[in-house]
C-alpha cells in the first residue's frame, strides 16, 4: 500500500518539519466501534490554509476520522495534533468548528435561526471577561457581524428571525453550516455539507469555502461530489480505512487505479497481484 501511495503522501521522516505548522497531523491512528477498527493506521498531514476534500466510499471511515479530529472519539492507538499542539488544548479554545453528517436535533427547540448560529460565537465571547456574561443583544457589534456574514454566506439571512422548525431540510443543513462558519475557527471540519443542498447554494457554499481558505482558514470537507472537488479543492485525500493517496485533485481523480483502490482495496490488491 505504501509503495504506490500518491504524490504528497506523508512519509515517515521527511515531513516532520511540516508538522509544526500543519492544521492536522495524524500519526498511526487506529479507532473504531465495539472493538472493530473503522480506521486503521491513518497517517495524514493537512497543511494550514488549504481546502481539502476527503473522498471515499460509504463506510470508509470518513465521518469517524472527522470525529477523531474533533475529539468526539479517542484513538485506540496513535496521535492527532492540531496546529502543532495537543488536539484537546486546541479544541478547548474553540479553534475547531464541526458540522456533523447526521444531526439528531430537536427542531422544535425554542430558538430562531439567528439564535442557533449565534451560539457559535461562544468561544470568542468567552475570551472577553465581561461580555461572556452579558445577554445576546449586548455582546458587541463584531459578534453580530460575524453571525450576519455567516447567514449571508449560506443564503439564509432572510430567514434569520424565523423559528428553526419553519425550515426545509436543505435550509436546516445551511443553518448548521452557517453555525460552523460563524465560529470563525482556524480549522473547519464539514461532514457532507452539500448533501441535500440545491445547485445555487452549492456554488455559493464553495465560493464561501474558498474565501475562508483565502483568509488563511483550513477546511476539511467530506463529499461525494467529484466534479466540485476538481473545481474547487486544493487537495484531495482518497480514504478507505486509511489514507490511500493524498495530492492534487486533477492528478488523483484521473488515476483509475487509485480510484479502484479507494473503492475496494481488497479487489485492487487482487487485480494487481494477477497482473
Amino acid at each position: 500500500m505504501t509503495s504506490s501511495a500518491g504524490p504528497d503522501t506523508p512519509g515517515a521522516g521527511g515531513l516532520r518539519r511540516l508538522d509544526s505548522d500543519a492544521a492536522v497531523s495524524a500519526r498511526g491512528v487506529y479507532a473504531g466501534y465495539h472493538g472493530i477498527d473503522a480506521v486503521a493506521g491513518v497517517d495524514l498531514t493537512i497543511p494550514s490554509g488549504e481546502l481539502v476534500a476527503l473522498v471515499g466510499p460509504n463506510g470508509a471511515g470518513k465521518s469517524t476520522l472527522l470525529r477523531l479530529i474533533m475529539g468526539l472519539m479517542r484513538p485506540r492507538r496513535g496521535e492527532i495534533r492540531l496546529h502543532g499542539q495537543a488536539a484537546a488544548a486546541q479544541r478547548r479554545t474553540g479553534a475547531v468548528a464541526y458540522m456533523p453528517q447526521h444531526e439528531t436535533l430537536d427542531w422544535d427547540f425554542p430558538a430562531s435561526v439567528r439564535d442557533v448560529v449565534f451560539s457559535a460565537r461562544y468561544p470568542s465571547l468567552r475570551r472577553s471577561p465581561v461580555r461572556r456574561w452579558l445577554p445576546q443583544p449586548w455582546v458587541g457589534h463584531e459578534h453580530h457581524q460575524a453571525v450576519d456574514r455567516a447567514l449571508r454566506a449560506t443564503d439564509i439571512a432572510e430567514r434569520a428571525r424565523r423559528h428553526i422548525s419553519e425550515l426545509s431540510g436543505g435550509q436546516k443543513k445551511r443553518v448548521l453550516l452557517a453555525r460552523a462558519l460563524a465560529q470563525e475557527a482556524r480549522l473547519l471540519l464539514l461532514d457532507e455539507p452539500l448533501v441535500g443542498v440545491d445547485q445555487n447554494s452549492e456554488a455559493l457554499i464553495f465560493q464561501v469555502l474558498r474565501d475562508l481558505r483565502a483568509a488563511g482558514q483550513t477546511v476539511v470537507l467530506v463529499t461525494h461530489d467529484v466534479s466540485g472537488v476538481r473545481q474547487h479543492a486544493d487537495r484531495v485525500v482518497l480514504f478507505n480505512r486509511s489514507v490511500i493517496a493524498c495530492g492534487a485533485p486533477d492528478e488523483l481523480l484521473a488515476d483509475e487505479r487509485l480510484l479502484l483502490r479507494t473503492a475496494d482495496p481488497a479487489l485492487a490488491r487482487g487485480l494487481e497481484a494477477a497482473v
Binding site: 474553540g94 475547531v96 439564535d115 461562544y122 465560529q183
Partner: protein, 306 residues
Amino acid sequence: MAIGDAVIDTLLAGLLAVVNLLPEAVAEPFSYQFMQRALLTSIAVGLVCGVLSCFVVLKRWALLGDAISHAVLPGVAIAYLVGWPFFIGAFLAGALTALGIGFIERTTRLKSDAAIGIMFTAAFALGVVIISQVATSTHLMHVLFGNVLGVDRTNLMLTLAAGAVALVAISLGYKALFAYTFDETHARALGLNTGVIHYALILLLTLTIVASLETVGIILVVAMLIIPGSTAYLLTDRLPRMIGLAGLFGVTSTVLGLYLAFHYDVASGGAMVLVAAALFLGALLFGPRHGLLPRWWRRWQGAGVS
C-alpha cells in the same frame, strides 16, 4: 446569618408593602407572620422551579426530576433519625442518586429510563423501610406532601439561598446552557466541558427540589419542575421568553396555591400543582399559536372560505 436575617426582613417588608396595596379581604391573611414567611417561600419556589422547568422539559428530564425528588426520601428519614437538618440528608441522597444513575448509564448497556427507574425505586424503598421503623411524625408527612404554612425561618433562608444560586447560575451561564441544551455535540465543539455542565445542571435540579420540599412535598415537587415550563413551551418559540413565562407561571401557581391552601385548609403542594395544571389547560386550549381552540377555529374558517 445576620446578613441573611437582614435580607429576609427587607424582603418581607417589601412584600408586605405590596400586599397592603391589595383589597382588605385579600390582604388580611398576610397579617400573620407565618403567612408572610409562606408567601415569600412560595414566590421563591415558584420562580426557581419555573425557570428550571424549562431545562427539564427541553432536556426531557421529567423522569430524572421525578427520580431525584423521590430519592431524597431516605436522606430525609436518616437526617430525621440522626437529628440533622433534613435538607442536608435530602441533598446528599438526591445527588448520590443522580451520580448513581449516570454511573449505571455509562458502565452498562442499560438506557437512562431503566437506570433511573432502578435507582430511584431502590432509594425510595429504603426511605419507606426506614420510615416504617420510626414512628410516623407529622414532620415527615409535611416533607411528603408539603406544608408551606409551617415553613420556619431557617427553611425560608435555605429556599432563598438555593433560589438565588440557581437563578444567578442560569443567567450567567445562559449561553453555555443554551448550547448544551440544544446540541450537546456542538457544545463540545465550542470547547465547552459538557460533563461539567451536565452535572452542574443536575446539582441545581437537586438543590431546587430540596429547597421546595417543605412547600410542595416530595411527591408533587416534580410537577412544579415540569408543568410551568410545558405551559410556557406551548406559548412561545424563544427560550428567553419561555424562561420568563415559566417563572411567571411558577410564581402564579405557588402564590395562588398558598392562598387556596390557607382558605380551604388543604395540602399546599396539591393546591399549587392544581393551579399549575389549570394554567397548562388554559394554554393548551387557548394558546394563540399551538392552542387547540384557535387551531380548530382557523381550520373551521379555512373550511368555510374554500
